[in-house]
Structure formats: C-alpha cells, structure tokens
Symmetry: C2
C-alpha cells in the first residue's frame, strides 16, 4: 500500500519517536517511497532523523540516504560506523552514488569504509571514480554498463550480458569494444535479443558502423549536459584520451546537474547565495541574502557620495528624475546580462563573435534609448517640468541605456573569459554598478545643461 | 564520418545553395547530426532553408524537422504538400512527435495529412493524442510501449513483445495489464529475458506486486516534471480515470518542459518576455525588452511625481539617500519573490502554510532590517551626515526592508492563487513597486523627522 506524504504523517512520526514506537514507524514507512521518507526526514531534528533512519530496513535506508538534503545526510552519516556505511549503504549502491557518498565523509573514514568493502571490483571502481575532479564527466559517470567484445558470437555475448546485467537495474545500451577496451559502437538490446541473427553471428557483423557520440572523462559537466540535451541522448558513454570505454552517464544524473545550474543562475540573478530554499531556517536565509543586500547598500552609499559631490542642494529639482535614471539603467543592464548568460550556457560553434554581440547589443540599446528618451521628453513636458531638466533627463536616459546595454553585455563575457561564473553579473552587482554610473552620467549632463541653458523657455507646452 | 559544426560549413552551404550544388550539400550533410543540421538551417534565410531541407534523405529530413526552431519549422512545413508531410515525415515519427507536428499545421491541412496516413493505428493514436490540452500529461505522452497481459505465459509474452517492439527504439519497461487494460505493474526486460522463470510461468507470477507510480492523463505537465524528478523516473506510465494504461512519458520529453520552465522564470526575473535568445534579430530583442523598460520608466515617473509632492527642494539633502532606499527595497523584494517562485515550483504536501511563510519572511526581514539600518546609521555618522537625516535614512530603510520582504512574498503567492504565473512578480514589476513604496516611506519618515528634530545635534561623532 502506498502512503502519501502529509503533515499528519509527519506529526505522527514525531509522536512515535517520542514514545519509542519503532514497529509503528517501520510499518508505516514500508509503504512510503524512499524519496518521500527523505522529505519527511529533512523536516526533523537531527536526533529524530537518526531515530527514523534506524527504524528502516537496510535497503530502504540506503535509498533514503541518497535522497536526503546534504546537511542532514552529513549529520546522519556521522552517526553511522564505517562498517555500517560499507555494508548497509555502499554495497547497495551503483558506483557513482557510492563514490559521491564516500566523498562526503571525512578522509579517515573514507579509507576505512573502502577497506571494509567486500566486493573488490566495486572498491576499485569507487577509488577510480573518486580521482576525477568534481564537475567533470568522470565525476558524473557510473561504471555499471554492459560491454561485449566485437569478436564474440551472439551466444557468447548473451551469456556475458547475463552475467554483467546481474547488477544492473536498467540496460540502456550494449557497448561494443575492441581488445584494448576501445569503444567501437553500440548495439540495442532489441537487435541482440529479438533480432534475426543466428547465435553464431559475431557482434562485429551486427553493430552500427556509425561513430558513437561519447564524451571524454575530463569534459566539464555543463558540456555533457549540453551534448546530451542537444542530441536527445538518454545515456552517453565516457572514454579516456585513448578512446577506451570507462563508464556511462545517464540522463537522470544530468538532469540534476541541469537543475542545479538553472537554479544557481536564477538565485544569482535574484541576489541569493547558492543552495537555500524558503523552507530553510531564518539564519540560513539571512546568511544567503544579507551579503547581497549589503553590496547593494554599498552601492547606495557610493551614490550618496556622488550626490554629495555634485551638490544636489544647488539644483534640488534634479532629484526628481534620479529614480527613473537609476531604475532604467538597472533594468536594461540586467536584461543584457541575462541574455549573455543564457547564450553562454548554450554555446555553439555558430555563435556570434564578441564583437558581433556587442554591435547587436549596441543596436538594440540604440533603439530602446531613442524610444525611451523621446517618451521621457514628451511626458515630462506634458507635466510641465522645466525644459532644461527635461532635456537633461532625456539625454542622460539615452546615455544610460546605451551604457547599461554595453556593460551588461561586456561584464559577463569578461567574467566568463576569466573563468568566473558570468551569472554573477546579473544580480545586485550590475544594478548597483548601473545605479552609480547612471547618476554620474545624469549629474554630468545636468551640470552642463542646467548651468548653460538658462536661456531656454522653461517649458514647451 | 562525423562533420562538426563550424562557421565555414555554414558559409560553404550558402555558396553551394547559390550555385545549386545539390550533391555536395547532400553528401556533406550525410555526416552531420540532424540536430546540427537543424542548427545550421536555423541560421539560414527561409528560401535557403527549404533548399537544404530538400537535399536531405527522407529519414534525415524527418529528424531535422523535429529539431528546428518553431518559426523556421512552420515556414518549412508550409512549403511541403500534405502527402509529403504524411509519407516522409509523420510515418517516421513516434506518436507524440507526430501529434506535435500535426498540431502546428493549419486545420485544413491537419485533416488532409491524417487522412493520408497509411497506418491506421498510427492515425488513430495521433487523433487521440491531439485531443489532450497542451500542458497536460496527455499532450506529453507517447503511445509506443510494450504491454503484456498478466494471464499470458512468458513464452506468449515474449512473442507479443517481439511484435510490439518492432516499432520501438528503446524498451524502457514492460507494462503488465489486466483484461480491461488496467495497469497492474511492471516487469523489467531483465527479469523477462534473463530471468530464471520457465517459459510456462505466467506473467502474474513474475511482476512486482507494489503499486506502480503513474500519472493521470489530465495531470499538468509541471506536476509530471515534479514527480519524475523527485522519484528519479526515466519513464512514467499515463492512465485514464479508470486506471487503464494509455501511454508513457519519457524523461527526455520532460527535460524539455523543465528547461522551458526554468528559462521562462529566468527571463521573467530579468525583465525579458519569453522566448528570445541573444542570436535573435534586433527587432525581436527590442520587442521582448522594451515593454519591461517602459514599465520601469512608468515607475520612475511615479517616483518623480512623489518627489514633487513631497517637494524635495524643501529638504534637498534628502536626495542623498534616495538611491540607497530604492535599491535596497528592490533587492530585498526580488530575493523574497524569487524564493517564493522556487518553492511554488517544488510544491510539497509538507510545505509551510502561507501564514508560516509570511511569518518566517517577516523574521528574516526583521534580522536584515536591524543589521542594515544599524550599518547605515553608523556609516552615515562616520561620514558626518546630519543626524536627523541619518535617523531618517535608518528608520526608512528598516521599514522598507520589512515592507519589501512581505510584499515580495505576498505578491507571487497571490498571483499564483489566481492562476497567474508568480514569476511575473520577480522582474521589474516588483523593483518598481518597491522603488515607489520606498520613496513614500522615506519621505514620510523624513517629513516628520526633519521638521521635528531640529533640536538634535547635527552629528554624533
């Protein structure tokens, strides 16, 4: 029976923990999906989490562990012995999940756990996987796959597949390799099992001739995402520099990377440090948000300084258009930066050059600037603002839009060139920069016009 | 041989089109992946696109068609006869792709194409799929799957699977159904083929007892994404209200939905209308951006009005902290709104209630507000600003941060309640609102303090 998630269930569990009703906990959780159990545990205090975890059957506990939030998982792991981790968890895992989990442990414990693994092949797979840098194809891949040598007959291959498949949940593709383990091609399960080939046909005669799309083990994770996405792949083989088959990456692993990236970009654009959710604690949320607010405030203080330098008390009416100039500069800058960030995430060989990008952004900026400054000129005259002030606002707005378009494009491109995440440029950082530059432009223009255009009529209409 | 994408290839293709070198085009594109061909075609003029398309072999052309940008695809489709669409395209497609493509055609042509399909089962599958509303599980699903009746023996089942699998690229899972097509469970290919069961065992004895996770055909696409993601599913069966198996949705279809959602949220947060890329034309980019800039400007004009009402010339030094107040209000509001949007996208039964959310946001706002107003008080006094002005800025900042936290949380929740995309609240919309409210708060506080606190010393330090 399937038990759905509910607040009542959570409340019941808390009561049962307090009363020590282990059997009740065990029994009700039998019907809850491991991902849902993880969601429940994420809501509990650490001691309650450990209690629930210990009520689960080993196999379920192992699945739940993989689904937990990072911080809870670390706490839970620290309450388990190396032997428990090795025997109850790792031995239930695929190599990639196992390597990820072990990487979360303190170094000393890592070694202990690996030494305790009974399956030597698994141990060596894990050690191998742990050597790859985070964020590369190597760190994403799993070792579990079905491989057949091109010289084998179908009968031999099926026998081997049966043996290899014993540890696999899903067989995505059958990889055909040569004597040096070099990846030669793929075979579908369908061809192999349901095909009309005789049992004595060799694999060589069956498999697709065309080159298989694979990624090198050092390829960055983002590139793996891009390739799998673009070519609609459910699984992609990973090879080393010599072309030997090392492992495979499946779409569901890549989906996680994709989502992390998208939410990282989104959070940076919103001025939030990575990895918080609205369900986190007040302290965690404050820690993720306050720095960005302070950056914005530093910008605000710089603006205050500039307003002081240009002595607003001399031309106090200039204050009227300050918010308009600042807001527009900010909006335009964020738009430009966001477009660059998106295009960098989907890079292609056919992309425009940096010069082409800047030229186009300049054109778009020019169109927006012309329209907006015309609008502001018209509206401010309709509302009978001083003509010199209207001209100032209009000209400043024009320059600010062009300026914000160019910097909004240029800054993320530059950050990216230096290996810094370009999405940094989309948040409070760019609005702050544009606020400050907008004011400088506005006051510079105003300084000139308000002091030199006294001869103008005060209003057109 | 695999030909990589390059600007030279694009230039060569253009030359060859001009010179009518069909064979050269055909031959070089034989080695280019259909997704890459589509990327090349996306860069061409419509007449060039049609030309290239007609140089491709039927099967490649069909694959390329699926990968093209929407606007180019529509143009290309309008240059094809109904017979060409039916025979060269649709008959090569899975039911879900076929239904999507036909939906893109004018109504008259839709009927013609369907009437021309030779495979009646495919035709009825397509007609069936076209009845489901866009954005539901029904519109996402494909009809291609392997189903076996629980009463069949393994031998019977394998025979049937062989027949059904003829039209499938990948067999994800084998679905077990009862006599009324009701979904009862799943079987892995492994159990069926490599399992130790005798050929006379019935399916009923083999398949997993536990309830299969499925979605109803009317489930919204976002919910399908959430479920597949949470439970790490590569494929999910789709059933009708009576529980009968209708089709299946695969992870790669869901990945597309996921990415569309993420990029829509991102674009709204950046103040860009949906669906533009930096490679689009200047006109398309301006159309997507200008409205948001104008919204921001309308806000700026409202701010100008407020500054006029409160008569800045009376207390011109108040202009100094205007940018700081506005920027901070904007930043805080965007943070709050973005957190709500994210949490709405990952809704769960354990979520906090609206009241809990607002209370927590109020707490976070309070902490941020206390720290920020203390910082501003200190800094402005260190820089020897007028004490009354410092107090004004500090108090106004405090209120603005609280206000922006609450509205930033409340507005997207309200939009969502009324079925409007909450992400609308993250862009220029909320920064503009907070700019205006920030100024009103600032001036109201200032009006009181600057007129009543003349007795204070002008500075603390």
């Amino acid at each position: 029976m399937q038990v759905p998630l509910s607040k009542e269930l959570l409340a019941n569990l808390k009561d049962w923990i307090a009363e020590g009703k282990d059997t009740a906990i065990h029994d009700v959780l039998q019907g809850v999906h491991p991902a849902d159990i993880a969601e429940l545990i994420n809501e509990l205090r650490p001691d309650e989490a450990v209690y629930i975890y210990r009520c689960l059957d080993d196999e379920r506990a192992a699945e739940v562990m993989l689904e937990l939030d990072d911080d809870i998982r670390k706490k839970l792991l620290s309450s388990l012995t190396s032997r428990e981790i090795a025997e109850d968890l790792i031995e239930n895992y695929d190599s990639d999940d196992a390597a990820d989990l072990i990487s979360d442990l303190p170094e000393q414990k890592q070694e202990e756990v690996i030494a305790l693994l009974e399956d030597e092949e698994q141990a060596s797979d894990i050690i191998d996987l742990m050597t790859y840098a985070e964020g590369t194809a190597g760190a994403l891949m799993g070792k579990e796959l079905v491989r057949v040598n091109q010289k084998w007959t179908v009968a031999q291959a099926i026998r081997e597949m049966r043996r290899q498949a014993e540890y696999l949940d899903t067989i995505y593709t059958i990889y055909v390799v040569g004597d040096k383990e070099e990846l030669l091609g793929t075979l579908s399960m369908k061809t192999m099992i349901f095909g009309s080939a005789s049992m004595r046909t060799t694999v060589r005669e069956l498999f697709k001739e065309s080159k298989v799309r694979s990624v090198n083990v050092n390829t960055p994770a983002e590139e793996v995402v891009r390739v799998m996405n673009k070519y609609d792949l459910v699984v992609i083989p990973v090879v080393n520099d010599a072309g030997a088959l090392l492992g495979r990456i499946t779409l569901d692993d890549v989906v996680d990377v994709m989502q992390e990236e998208a939410s990282k970009d989104y959070q940076l654009a919103s001025g939030i440090s990575e990895n918080v959710e609205s369900s986190d604690s007040v302290i965690a949320l404050t820690r993720a948000r306050l720095p960005w607010i302070l950056i914005g405030m530093a910008g605000g203080m710089s603006s205050a300084y500039i307003i002081g330098v240009f002595d607003i008390t001399e031309n106090p009416q200039m204050a009227i258009f300050m918010p308009l100039i600042a807001a527009t500069g900010g909006n335009v800058g964020v738009q430009s930066a966001a477009l660059v960030v998106r295009s960098l995430a989907n890079q292609s060989a056919l992309d425009e050059t940096v010069m082409q990008k800047l030229t186009k952004e300049f054109s778009v900026g020019m169109v927006n600037a012309l329209i907006c400054s015309a609008v502001i000129m018209l509206v401010s005259q309709l509302f009978h603002f001083d003509l010199a002030l209207s001209i100032t606002a209009s000209l400043a707005l024009f320059s600010v839009i062009i300026f914000a378009s160019i910097t909004g494009t240029f800054i993320p491109l530059t950050l990216n060139r230096f290996g810094i995440d370009p999405a940094l440029a989309t948040g409070p950082f760019i609005t702050t920069t544009n606020d400050i530059m907008g004011l400088i432009i506005y006051f510079s223009v105003g300084h000139y016009f308000l002091n030199h255009l006294d001869l103008l009529p005060t209003t057109i209409f």
